[in-house]
Symmetry: C2
Subunit: 341 residues, 2 copies
């Protein structure tokens, strides 16, 4: 060991705290603390771009590609069901309490089953703003094209899942795909009965849902399904009603492995694993939402299922374990595709 | 709500459990359960490639690029300090207990400070096997080239951090870089005194360390530093001795933000956050390793520091919080570079 006394971290702590209290511009980039050292190579500009938004894994013989559509900043006031100070405490525990908004990923999933190329949800398109609408780009980054997709399974007809079915000009983005959605979901948004009873802030969602699927319906490619209908080889729907009346997950299984792509069963990993009773204000039936979430969390934990969630931190894939009175989220570890585990 | 009874998850549970107990080949890909549906589009081949191994974020005006070198499967027997059944329990909690090996990422970090392009650690090169050695590829995928790097800060001279300094032919990979390493680290591995006393299984590490830096030393570009020496504007070394005698992290700070790239302070997120007393068999001084880990975990949690770790799941960036008698790891959420948080 070197006899020289190392700098203690307590020293750094003092320096950092001083910076946090009052950070004069001269301290930016450590100007005070470090000597100037001439760069040996010419320094290029910063890149400031992110890696492509896809992530791949294997489930048996199926290839799962998580696709990042972008993110939404959600005001924390939309989450209710526990005291607001508890919400802040739960966010702080995940280092998310500094800002009033909660960053929520918007994920979709492309599954190659060997016989089908299946997209689960289609993202938001650009309509909600410039931070979303990257599904088509990321399908291409992942080596596929929208034209190759034969089936789109929609978890529910909210705009951040269905608007991406269309290009910005309103034309069909997936010209060779059938769009499948639960019959209860189709009836609620397009049946005409529910919109009259909906609260005013939710009424625009009905027109958006109709617009998102109308070109597919006109082309005879919108196919509502009944619960229990077979969908594709190795693919079944899983009822997760409440958030919307037909909100459904999709269970993919190949050989001894399976993954449940559960849509919006959890809107916030920071809040709803620990407290499944937290709801989001636009859950259509809050009691049913909580019951569905509790049921799926319990089953996912008991079965050690792989799950994928539309608003969990990208890639949104991981496991659920019980923890205390609630649950905890265990995200997948990045790595190459390993079919050996 | 649709009056039709949805399939309950209990049904799926039964089906999945049946599959788990005895999975006949005919159940693969759900052949029994789903009808054949003709694909509407021609199904392309599976891609089976992973996304590029880089991840970007901002720390003040600094751009941080995490780089994935690959992974090592470590036998769990290398981790000691709690009972082996506790090790298995901790792994099971993270869904990692099914196999005897623990997948450990090997990460490096490229930091563009505005004045310098700094690499922290260089990965393993291909020497330990084909699952490693992707640092140069990922530097290029991230938009830079090895030639542009002016400084390599090495946390310690183990082969998975230093072998990547060279190409496979033994030539310098970073021709315009100075390589900086703590003097205590340099003295231990290259000084000649320690190798004689080292246990036989560790002796090859001395020759590897020497080989990794020799071409830089010959070119006058290997510059050991003393603790407290200024390194670069906004960059300081942080003592984390024990795993090796000069094992050091690097603290980068810009404006009011900072990130501590702490090398091997944690070898396994599943084990050592909850139980900092777990050591890995090749920690040179186990008591000092534990003391350093406890000190850095406590400070990282108290200061809510961003940290980046060489063997944490890629990108290895996140926060540490206290939890029970130990700590918990909170990984960064994927997203575009946001300078607003």
């Amino acid at each position: 060991m070197s006899p020289i006394t190392p700098p203690t971290f307590a020293t750094l702590r003092k320096a950092l705290l001083a910076l946090a209290v009052a950070a004069p511009a001269s301290l930016a980039a450590g100007a005070v603390l470090a000597p100037a050292v001439a760069a040996l190579a010419e320094v290029p500009g910063q890149q400031r771009t992110q890696a492509p938004g896809f992530y791949r894994m294997a489930i048996g013989d199926f290839e799962i590609t998580a696709l990042f559509d972008g993110f939404i900043d959600r005001d924390r006031k939309y989450f209710v069901g526990v005291k607001s100070e508890d919400i802040i405490g739960l966010l702080d525990r995940m280092f998310l309490a500094e800002r009033p908004e909660i960053q929520a990923a918007v994920n979709a999933y492309l599954v190659h089953t060997g016989t089908n190329l299946v997209l689960v949800d289609a993202g938001a398109a650009k309509s909600p703003g410039p931070t979303l609408g990257f599904i088509a780009d990321n399908i291409r980054a992942a080596g596929y094209s929208p034209e190759q997709i034969d089936t789109v399974l929609v978890t529910h007809l909210h705009p951040d899942h269905a608007n991406g079915l269309l290009r910005l000009d309103g034309s069909i983005l997936f010209p060779n795909a059938e769009v499948r959605v639960a019959k209860a979901e189709f009836d609620f948004w397009l049946g005409g009965g529910a919109v009259a009873k909906a609260p005013a802030p939710l009424k625009p969602f009905f027109a958006m849902a109709r617009a998102a699927v109308a070109p597919y319906e006109a082309a005879g490619k919108l196919k509502p399904y009944q619960p229990g209908d077979g969908l594709l080889p190795g693919v079944e729907s899983v009822a997760a009603y409440g958030h919307t009346p037909g909100h459904s997950g999709y269970l993919f299984r190949s050989k001894e492995q399976s993954i449940l792509l559960w849509g919006d069963t959890v809107h916030s990993h920071a809040l709803q694993f620990a407290h499944p009773e937290v709801v989001i204000e636009f859950d259509v039936d809050k009691d049913e939402t909580i019951a569905s979430r509790r049921r799926l969390l319990a089953e996912a934990a008991a079965l050690k299922l792989w799950v994928g969630g539309a608003h969990l931190p990208f890639p949104g894939i991981g496991h659920v374990r019980t923890e205390g009175d609630g649950y905890a989220w265990v995200p997948v570890e990045f790595g190459p595709i390993r079919s050996d585990r």
